[in-house]
Amino acid sequence: MQRASLSSRSVQYVFLVFVAAAWYFLTESGNISRLFLPKPGDVIDALTRLFQTASFWSAVLVTLTTALKGFVIALVLGVLAGYLVTRSKLAIATIEPLISGLFTIPITLFFPMFILFFGVGTGSKVAYGATYAFFPIALNTIAAFSNMEKRYLLAAQSMGGSRWDIFRYVLMPGALPVLFTGLRIGFFICLASVLGGETISSVAGIGRNIALAAELMEPARMFAWILFVVCMSVTLNLLAYSFENKIRSR
């Protein structure tokens, strides 16, 4: 197990090195226009220059707070709706397929409506991200609470646990790992939706800056933003994973 994860880790690193090397040699060879793919060095330069501007940090702050707001709304509504659905077998049978069916609809199509209802400010992105993140959170909540094996509940009941005791000490800890997976997926879908929304129509945020750099024909700057988002997402994802593993190993 340890060994397998070690070797798969090294394959991942080799892949990353390969991508970086391919990027370097492709751009150095001069066969590719700088407009399509700038040199890695130029991108790093652009990124260090970005770091020194106040507008960079305010854009990051806008995007992260927007994503966080959307996520919190999705968390509250998704967990609540998911949990309520699991209170009845009939509801699980009818509503769960409905939610997973709705999730297959590209909600992107409704983005102009979000702009129409909530304006070009952050409000529309909060609503859009929350809508997208609602689905995986609700679906995982349903899975988490409905897959609890009945024998654990029977055992808890026969021990004399009250309804609250059983929820707090049996249902909740049993559901937490799957629930948390839903939250992690939900958060990253929310972040991606906010970023995507920002590139389409917004006045501030990381997505807005990426779109602007593209329009102004500043590929190095654009890639610098993208590189930053990639690093940020990877870091956040690793944090979420390690937290999730901590929950799971309990």
């Binding site: 654990y152 029977l154 055992a155 026969s158 021990m159 004399g160 000490y169 049996v170 800890p173 049993g174």
Partner: protein, 280 residues
Amino acid sequence: MTQVDKNNDDIAISIKNVTQRFGDEGSPESVLALDNISLDIRKGEFVCLLGPSGCGKSTLLNIVGGLFRPSSGSVTVDGRLVDGKPHPDKIAFVFQESTLFPWYTVIENFHIALKFQGIPKSEWDDRAMTALKAVGMASFAKHYPDQLSVGMRQRVNMARGICVKTGILLMDEPFAALDEQTRMVLGEDLSQLLAETGKTIVFVTHSLAEAVFLSDRIAVISARPGKIKTIIDVKTPHPRSPDFMLEPRFSELRNECYALLRDEIRATMALQRDPQPTGA
């Protein structure tokens, strides 16, 4: 057959005319699982419910434990009507599969059970460790259930049923998933514990040897609909050593049980083509 003891103070569990029907009477899916069962169990007695699979013995145990209400008839425990509600102050359950919560360590599993039972926190560790020591699992207190073998888990599971202060322990084929050697060892442990704690135990099994080795009395239950066919007295006192199994009396009783069950097993086989919405 039903009235074992006239002295009511001595009776721990009284089962009166319990009938269980699944599905509405008269409908084609309707199944009569238990037919008018009456049985009194004395305090400190070890009673086995022995019968072919599908005869309703687990159903009967669940009714005694208050996990559901029978179609008709009643169960009283220490003179209190069970009435389809668990009575955790009087009755503890040990299920067929381990019901140790996988997200808690062994000791935390005990704490939860004791907490649910309303036992003061100061007693938790003491009770848990005593019960764990009794089944030889004291050194695994900090392990998670999935770090233990199936046999170890079931030992802990059994110990958790013992650590609470109920006078009655209901066990639903607790050793069914174990290999024969582990079964025998746990059977010895259980016989020992019974002698030490004086708990009343009702034990569901389809193992003849287990029934004879552990029981004071064996209630042989017929194929569906489950009725008490005979009650066999095993007079050997607890704790019983493995030598008991070598005695001629052991084989006699075992054969007697088998003779009683053989017809029932054939009857069950004939029933097998029918739908079986009942539990074991």
